[in-house]
């Protein structure tokens, strides 16, 4: 074959391709066109095979001409294919429309979450852990020693009355009690003698109160204890304030006022800015702007002596308050008794 003939064939093929190309309408057409013209058995390959029958001198030139055709076709196909693919992708997606919000789920799990009291307890624990405290625990059934005696509450002390304890039919009469506060954990901790102590002790406690909107028979407390050399009332006041602002957030502050507890001296009650009205005065705080949260004070020397710590070397402070009461405040629960009913609407609803 002559070079001129090759050129002629290439020209015809170019035209044939252009006609075919203008008629394609899908990526499949592009693929078919590609194999028809530049596939292994395609029309361009057929021309290449005729090169062998040519004069050796003409071959490079003829090869160039065919290569140019092949590159042209390849270029057209490479340009067209993505456009068709993109168009087809969008058409396919549009055609497959469905409603993602319409679900029928027979195994649906609704709103399970931590109990409100657990939630509050964990938030409190985390606040104190953030301040460098450890979390200590102890038994709910306690001996008279841990619950009263070691805490400077001797027999017939009015505090034993006021706390109205549940005694158990274990051992001698009135010797074992459902703990009325988490302070026995403090006693156990001090008895262990690993000083210094920077700890909080949350847990369930029991008082012989008639259940009403503000009380349940069992409830939860968190107490704190710090024992070290040179710990003073200023540290106590600062710790209460740090906790208050860390837990309740900005704008909520604390104040101490004199009080009486057998296990601390000096003793104080601490109040925090009413979280409902932020100190302006409302019904919750009886227009005072303050809410009483708990008790605190410097550990009484008798408590130190009872637990084998020398009050002349060590000093310390303790504080405590109700987790449930805080929960009630925070979530505005009108009646505490709902906390033990475990209605799933309540457990999930808040």
């Amino acid at each position: 074959m002559e070079l001129g003939e090759i050129k002629q064939v290439v020209q015809e093929l170019t035209q044939e391709f252009e006609v075919a190309f203008s008629g394609i309408s899908s990526s499949t057409d592009v693929g078919l066109l590609s194999s028809e013209f530049i596939g292994k058995k395609g029309k361009v390959a057929t021309i290449y095979r005729q090169l062998g029958a040519m004069e050796a001198a003409d071959r490079p030139k003829a090869g160039e001409v065919i290569n140019a055709l092949r590159d042209h076709i390849q270029g057209r196909i490479d340009g067209a294919l993505p456009l068709f693919l993109e168009r087809e992708r969008i058409e396919t997606l549009n055609a497959s429309m469905s409603d993602p919000t319409a679900i029928v789920d027979h195994n649906r799990i609704t709103g399970a979450r931590r109990h409100l009291v657990t939630r509050t307890r964990i938030q409190l624990e985390d606040t104190f852990v953030g301040m460098g405290f450890s979390v200590e625990e102890g038994p709910e059934v306690e001996s008279e020693w841990y619950n009263f005696e070691a805490l400077n509450i001797p027999k017939f002390h009015p505090a034993r009355d006021a706390q109205d304890s549940f005694f158990l039919e274990l051992g001698e009469s009135n010797s074992m009690v459902l703990r009325t506060h988490t302070s026995p954990v403090q006693v156990r901790l001090m008895e262990r003698g690993e000083l210094p102590i920077y700890s909080v002790m949350p847990g369930r406690v029991y008082r012989r109160d008639t259940a009403d909107a503000r009380h349940t028979v069992g409830f939860h407390q968190i107490e704190g204890l710090v024992v070290d050399r040179d710990i003073n009332f200023g540290h106590l006041a600062h710790t209460i304030e740090t906790f208050t602002s860390a837990y309740f957030g900005p704008g909520i502050t604390s104040r101490l006022r004199p009080a009486f507890f057998p296990f601390t001296e000096p003793s104080a009650e601490f109040e925090v800015t009413c979280t409902i009205c932020v100190g302006k005065g409302c019904r919750t705080c009886s227009m005072t702007g303050w809410i009483e949260l708990g008790g605190c004070g410097m550990v009484h020397p008798n408590v130190f002596r009872a637990t084998g710590i020398d009050p002349e070397i060590y000093s310390g402070f303790a504080f405590g308050f109700g987790i449930d009461r805080l929960t009630q405040m925070r979530y505005q629960i009108p009646d505490m008794r709902i906390l033990t009913e475990n209605d799933v609407r309540f457990l999930s609803g808040v």
Partner: protein, 815 residues
């Protein structure tokens, strides 16, 4: 304590704290005093303003009552309120008739609570003011209808004039148990006077020096428990009166008026804190009375008409000892410090009086009062401690109030020895964190009755006044100084915590378990630890639960031995509220006591789950357990035995009961039962929680420490192979008595030299099988740690598993 402002003002000029001409004088005075009392630790729990804001309230006589058309809850009232024309009011009360006299708040009046009265129209009828209830005027609690006034009052008279109301304020104070000195007006006034640096004085006292006064023998105090006894006899008291303020203030303090003789006694108690007891002297054998311990089983009828049996023990440390006041014939006429006897009660016909002013040991009164369940105003004061040096002042005040003098006085007392404490001044800085202005505080304390003297370098002697039994050691004094300085003024100091705060591994694990349970759709519950005694017995518990010796109610009288009762109860309550999907869990302690040598019970923390679903799920509880095993990488140490095989009795002994015997299994750690999983016995669930027997309740409960904690925290290798896993299925015919988990455990045994897992993927119990068999299909996934398994190895593993199962007779391979 209800504390009356005018009463406090008898002792110091508190009214001078605020400018009297100020428009808001009384409000400002209340604020100033409230703040001071709170700072001093006398917490103000309420403030009542009596008789203020009643300037435009007058007496009005009802002259006409008419219905209003279209209204059945209000009526048109015409009143004569002293003006030339009758005034028209619309009123919603119905407790009066024409001719009655009632209070009218005129337009412009501002009633207590800042409630301003305006002219209004209701149903087209003009109302020029409001007719008031006693509550609306702050004069009482009655809000049911209008306050009805005496018919003799002149219409138009101001209500305060008409009723003789003296404006006053009552502070309701919470006085701490350790401050008996502040449990009376004298004490509160003294503390406040010191606070405001006002002059304090006791403006009364009668000269009794001319009265015949003789000493009684010490024996009149009995053997123990009485510190002093003073007796004063009065002749011809029949005409005695007290001034109006006595009755008025007593009423404000919450005590009703009885008779001048009794009122004066009560007044002295509330003013000075010293209880006194007047006897009708003519009803006593003589004026010769004394104190002694009660005899065993002695009894007396007290003023309230109750017969009280008294007690005695030689050992006052152990048992309550009651003290009685006895007459000349040794017959009890009263329980000392608590309540007098009925026979010598003051009455209208009383002509002569014997007044007892005594001081008893706080402990003894507290014990007797508690044992008898009898509390009185007197016992409440004695059990906290009455000032041993106030008896004479109390008697003088009593005489002054009644304007009488005793015919004779006799007394005996054990000398009071004041407490003296050495205070090391540097301890103040050590405990409070800062130095205090000591000179200034010494002056304040001296005004409180403390005596302060230099002791040695750096310390002072402090003598505590007789009315402060709360102060016995140095720490008490430090508090007293801090209180006078002001807690709020003590500088806060940053606490440098030397430790890093963290949770223990056990605490972290518990939190993870809670969050895992929530993610699985379980709601966290909190159920009571105290149950009714039969509640667990009905669920099959045979051991005695620990009993509360003084329960509030029988429903809360034993400690739980399992979490099942509470969760079952909660599930039942929810089911009755028509929820068809309930998943609850609880983390809590259970209690048992079986070792008689150990006084402490065994208290263990458990986690319990209950599920109820109206759908067709199977073995929800075991699915949860399986998820737990995977989440917390529990290994195969725990094995399973059907409850029916172990026997419900043995299960119950370990604190697991109420389970369906053939549809639940015990979790075993070697021979120890550490949990239970399966279904609740439907008969028991119906009996105990009223849940229909057709419902299936899935239940899982396990011992936190035994099942979880130790295992999860033990170090173990995490084995992950880098080579591909081989997978094949095996199908066995298995008897219904067998547990699938038994097969799985055995299969796991067969592949321990590889890493992998065995999962049940199909259960078939169709009719095509013989009825004792079911077909269980397992998928085995297995890989080697160091090479890719070849075909021959995989065949060998497969055969090893089959051999293991068949050798143990657990099942037969099916094709």
């Amino acid at each position: 304590m209800r504390t009356v402002l005018s009463w406090l003002c008898d002792f110091a000029d508190f009214e001078s704290l605020v400018d009297k001409g100020d428009q808001f004088y009384i409000d400002k005075l209340i604020d100033v005093l409230t703040e001071a009392m709170n700072e001093r630790g006398f917490v103000v729990e309420g403030v009542e303003r009596i008789g203020f804001d009643l300037n435009d309230v007058v007496v009005a006589r009802v002259v006409e009552i008419d219905a209003i058309k279209g209204a059945d809850r209000i009526r048109r009232i015409l009143v004569d309120a002293g003006r030339s024309e009758h005034e028209q009011i619309v009123c919603g009360a119905f407790n009066f008739v024409v001719g009655n006299q009632v209070p009218l708040a005129r337009v412009g009046a501002i009633l207590p609570g800042n409630f301003e009265i305006g002219a209004r129209k209701m149903k087209g009828v003009q109302s020029n003011g409001m007719l008031c209830s006693s509550r609306e005027l702050g004069l009482g609690e009655d809000s049911d209808g209008l306050m009805l006034l005496d018919d003799s009052l002149v219409p138009g008279t101001g209500i305060t004039t008409a009723l003789g109301i003296v404006p006053d304020v009552v502070f309701d104070l919470a006085i701490e148990a350790n401050r008996p000195d502040a449990n009376c007006h004298l004490g509160v006034a003294r503390e406040l006077a010191v606070h405001f640096n006002l002059d304090f004085s006791i403006p009364f006292g009668a000269d009794l020096s001319q009265i015949d006064h003789h000493k009684l023998p010490l024996g009149y105090l009995g053997d123990f428990g009485t510190n002093s006894l003073m007796l004063a006899s009065f002749k011809d008291i029949s005409g005695c009166q007290v001034e109006d303020f006595v009755v008025r203030r007593l009423a404000l303090a919450g005590m009703r008026s009885v008779s001048p003789i009794v009122d004066a006694s009560n007044y002295v108690m509330i003013e000075l804190g010293q209880p006194t007891h007047p006897y009708d002297l003519d009803k006593l054998a003589s004026a010769d009375i004394r104190v002694r311990p009660a005899f065993a089983s002695e009894s007396i009828v007290t003023l309230d008409g109750q017969n009280r049996t008294l007690a005695f023990s030689r050992n006052p440390g152990d048992l309550p000892v009651d003290l009685v006041i006895v007459d000349q014939d040794d017959k009890p006429i009263g329980i000392a410090g608590i309540m007098g006897g009925g026979t010598s009660e003051i009455s209208d016909s009383t002509k002569t009086v014997l007044l007892e002013v005594a001081n008893f040991s706080a402990d003894l009164i507290a014990k007797t009062s508690k044992r008898l369940g009898l509390r009185s105003e007197a016992s409440a004061r004695f059990e906290r401690g009455v000032d041993p040096n106030i008896a004479t002042l109390a008697l003088e005040r009593y005489c002054g109030l009644l304007s009488i003098s005793p015919e004779s006085i006799s007394s005996v007392n054990i000398e009071f020895v004041p407490t003296v404490i050495a205070l090391r001044v540097d301890q103040i800085k050590r405990i409070l964190g800062q130095e205090l202005p000591m000179a200034e505080l010494y002056t304040q304390l001296e005004k409180m009755g403390f005596l302060i003297q230099d002791h040695s370098q750096g310390s002072v002697w402090v003598q505590v006044p007789s009315n402060r039994p709360d102060i016995t050691i140095e720490a008490d004094l430090i508090e007293e100084f801090a209180r006078h300085y002001g807690y709020h003024r003590i500088a806060r100091k940053i606490l440098n915590v030397p430790s890093v705060g963290k949770l223990t591994k056990r605490q972290i694990l518990r939190r993870e378990l809670i969050d895992f349970s929530i993610a699985r759709g379980y709601f966290e519950a909190w159920t009571p630890s105290l149950l009714a005694p039969d509640e667990q017995r009905r669920l099959g518990d045979e051991l005695e639960a620990i009993r509360v010796s003084n329960p509030m109610a029988i429903e809360e009288s034993v400690l739980r031995r399992s979490l099942l009762s509470g969760l079952l109860r909660s599930a039942g309550a929810n089911i009755r509220r028509r929820f068809d999907q309930i998943n609850l869990f609880e983390v809590g302690s259970v209690f048992s006591h079986s070792n008689p040598d150990e006084i402490f019970p065994v208290e263990t923390e458990r986690i319990g789950y209950i599920s109820f679903s109206s759908g067709n799920e199977r073995s929800l509880a075991f699915m949860l357990y399986q998820a737990m095993v995977e989440r917390f990488s529990l290994d195969g140490r725990i094995s399973f035995r059907r409850v029916s095989e172990i026997g419900p009795k043995v299960m119950a002994q370990r604190g697991y009961f109420g389970m369906h015997p053939t549809r639940s299994v015990a979790l075993m750690l070697e021979d120890e039962i550490v949990g239970v999983v399966g279904e609740v016995d439907p008969y028991l669930a119906q009996d105990v929680a009223g849940i229909s027997r057709d419902s299936v309740l899935y239940y899982l409960e396990l011992d936190f420490d035994q099942a979880f904690y130790e295992r999860v925290l033990a170090p173990h290798d995490l084995k992950v192979s880098q080579f591909p896993s081989a997978s094949f299925d095996l199908c066995f015919g298995v008897s219904k008595e067998r547990l699938s988990r038994e097969l799985q455990s055995e299969m796991e045994q067969a592949i321990t030299s590889y890493v992998g897992s065995i999962t049940l993927i199909d259960i078939y119990e169709g009719a095509a099988l013989k009825d004792v068999l079911r077909s269980l299909t397992y998928r085995v996934l297995v890989a080697s740690m160091d090479h890719t398994l070849v075909e021959s190895e995989i065949r060998a593993i497969r055969q090893a598993i089959i051999d293991q199962i068949e050798r143990k007779n657990l099942g037969q391979l099916r094709n």
